[in-house]
Subunit: 393 residues, 2 copies
């Protein structure tokens, strides 16, 4: 039996998967586990979207759509940029994709030659570096732990390198930190990328889930910026596998060609269902959910701080807290495992997000209801107290 491609060695499985597997084993044994590891909203898809999906199925909307998506959905997305952000984006620049994953795949296929440098924040979403590896490009992990957890124009300039092929990939709000990049910093990074003759990609998959400041989109910067988005997180449509790209006009025919080959088109029932995502009834449901996420953040963060976890600042978006656990005397792999086994609380160790100093960090997701989060904090409190007393004795 022949071997597998060399790139496989560089692609790590998500460590949280092993943890999740163990959590399920414990649950099968009757243990109650509090899930603070899940990167998926606990809310179901809003009812108006589900209704539109059911209607689409009943009407036989199950054949292929154009590779770049249903024209009506591309128009609806363009309309959302106008109504929510006051930014004029032509529907022709919208490419509908199977999730933000599909969008990232398209962009790496479009932009990355083998050996090219893809700059990204460390910590960051682990798939991002793996998308680069899939096309044998290099991921350049830039330590942003002292810079508000986002790339800065200076860091981008400093790490750009002298080679021809380079691009910067930002995520805002970020996973695992919830950090939001400032408008001016983003504009300045775009200037660096332009000056150096490279590309700027901005992943806005957590857009809509922000808690401070006025929302904006990188699409306002200019037509040269690639913007990635998704119906998964804010719109609550994870399992439907639907996202989109805003692309420079001249990239769209190339992306169309790649989409025809890579996935033919995004799922048709999902596309019809998503037409209901921008309806006022849906947006009201989503705003209510956003407020609930904000309340969870506001109660969970101080509770974890009380226990000795440290935070660089309050996350302005997404549904994660990336906690510095150096003060607790255990590395995050050991801590995460102990919390699961002894306290029945599942978290994600930094190893999944940080190449640099992974043992220092632990991600808490607030994708479960408040009483469960409070119970989780109580269990962690008891675990740490027990540990302190056993160390003393």
């Amino acid at each position: 039996m022949a071997g597998y491609a060399r790139r496989l060695d560089r692609i790590q499985p998500f460590h949280v998967m092993r943890l999740l597997h163990r959590a399920r084993e414990l649950e099968a044994q009757g243990r109650d586990i509090i899930h603070m590891e899940v990167g998926e909203p606990d809310f179901d898809t809003p009812e108006p979207i589900v209704r539109a999906g059911v209607e689409a199925l009943r009407e036989g909307r199950t054949h292929y759509t154009p590779a770049v998506g249903l024209p009506r959905l591309r128009e609806a997305i363009a309309g959302y940029y106008a109504s929510r952000f006051g930014v004029d984006v032509s529907p022709e620049r919208i490419v509908v994709t199977p999730g933000a994953s599909g969008a990232l795949q398209l962009l790496m296929a479009l932009l990355a030659n083998p050996g090219d440098r893809v700059l990204m924040a460390d910590p960051g979403y682990p798939c991002n570096r793996n998308f680069a590896f899939l096309h044998d490009a290099r991921s350049v992990a830039v330590d942003v732990s002292r810079d508000g957890f986002q790339l800065t124009p200076e860091l981008v300039e400093q790490h750009w390198g002298d080679a021809d092929g380079a691009m910067a990939l930002l995520t805002t709000p970020a996973n695992p930190t919830g950090a939001v990049i400032g408008r001016e910093a983003l504009a300045a990074i775009r200037e660096v990328a332009r000056r150096r003759g490279g590309h700027l990609l901005v992943d806005e998959i957590y857009q809509g889930l922000t808690y401070d400041g006025e929302p904006f989109t990188a699409a306002e910067l200019g037509k040269d910026v690639f913007v990635i988005n998704s119906f998964s997180k804010f719109f609550g449509m994870t399992g439907w596998r639907l996202g989109w790209l805003v692309a420079p006009p001249d990239a769209v025919p190339e992306l169309d060609k790649l989409a025809q080959n890579l996935f033919l088109a995004a799922p048709t029932p999902s596309q019809y269902a998503a037409l209901a995502a921008f309806e006022p009834e849906t947006l009201a449901i989503l705003e209510n959910r956003r407020q609930r996420f904000e309340q969870r953040r506001d109660s969970l963060m101080p509770a974890l701080e009380n226990l000795g976890f440290r935070f660089a600042g309050q996350p302005s978006g997404a549904f994660y807290l990336y906690a510095d656990c150096r003060g607790l005397g255990m590395d995050s792999d050991a801590l995460s495992e102990a919390l699961l086994e002894q306290a029945g609380v599942a978290t994600t160790p930094g190893r999944d997000f940080s190449v640099i100093d992974p043992g220092r960090w632990l991600r808490f997701a607030f994708t479960t209801r408040r009483e469960r989060l409070e119970e989780g904090v109580a269990r962690i409190t008891a675990f740490l107290a027990g540990r302190a007393s056993s160390t003393e004795s």
Copy 2:
């Protein structure tokens, strides 16, 4: 603005897309167009599958599934191999994917290093070579036009090359020719791949749509063969974007890792809907459709032969006729265009499937009802007669 990755130059858009666009323009002008270019069954998704999809949505089955698919669906697919083909495939070897496209993507990411040789039949499905190009591997187009339109053990041996990295990718029944490979030839090709230390990939996306001989699956050959399949064609679920792989046991953890990164999971509602695909009620509907496809083939092929199109033999599967049009005095690009503009019949020129001698071939799909196919033949007859008389005059 920086350029795009070099691989883009090697990836061609489907020429049929330009044609489809023109067909839509003509229809918008009020012209009636007969669609013999569409690679998608005209039948809607069978009602039991749609019902299961609606039920899944109503029950809130809209969150992520495991990356390799719903356990129940993996079991149902394994059960289908047992009941239909008498082949024992463990559910653990099934990886559910977003369409056969997702499966091909996973396999190229898993197996192809830059520069590796991927042997495939010419003519063949154009995405196959493009999946190789996406990972900067080389597609080796092997002329099978004198060998019943399928690779033979001799051809595979002859084109394997001396380099380390090589694999063979077969499609049976084939697109665009409908050719089915024989059981013995397939087994012998597997032996060549084993002896040369490479992989054999068999795409069975048109499985179930066969009209002659006893159906079988490459999965019977052994656990080392990668088998690709889909719910799109036989099961009538194109827009749902759902397919699967049968993989060697030791490849599954690697495929799981790649799937987590590439697409997270196949669409959840589609996976629940597909649970109804193997129900007796659904299979009865599908058998009826298969018979209708067979009737279309049996009437369309002789009608086209009467007009001067030539065929190497009767296709044993799929829903295509790949016609040799050399006798008609026009190359297939010109013929396809003239048929659309002057006769209102859309076909796909050989350029989309053949690197070798593309102008010789024209693909007719019988994915429209019989009366429309007959009307199409009548129009082509009139077009050719008009052309003959104008040439004579």
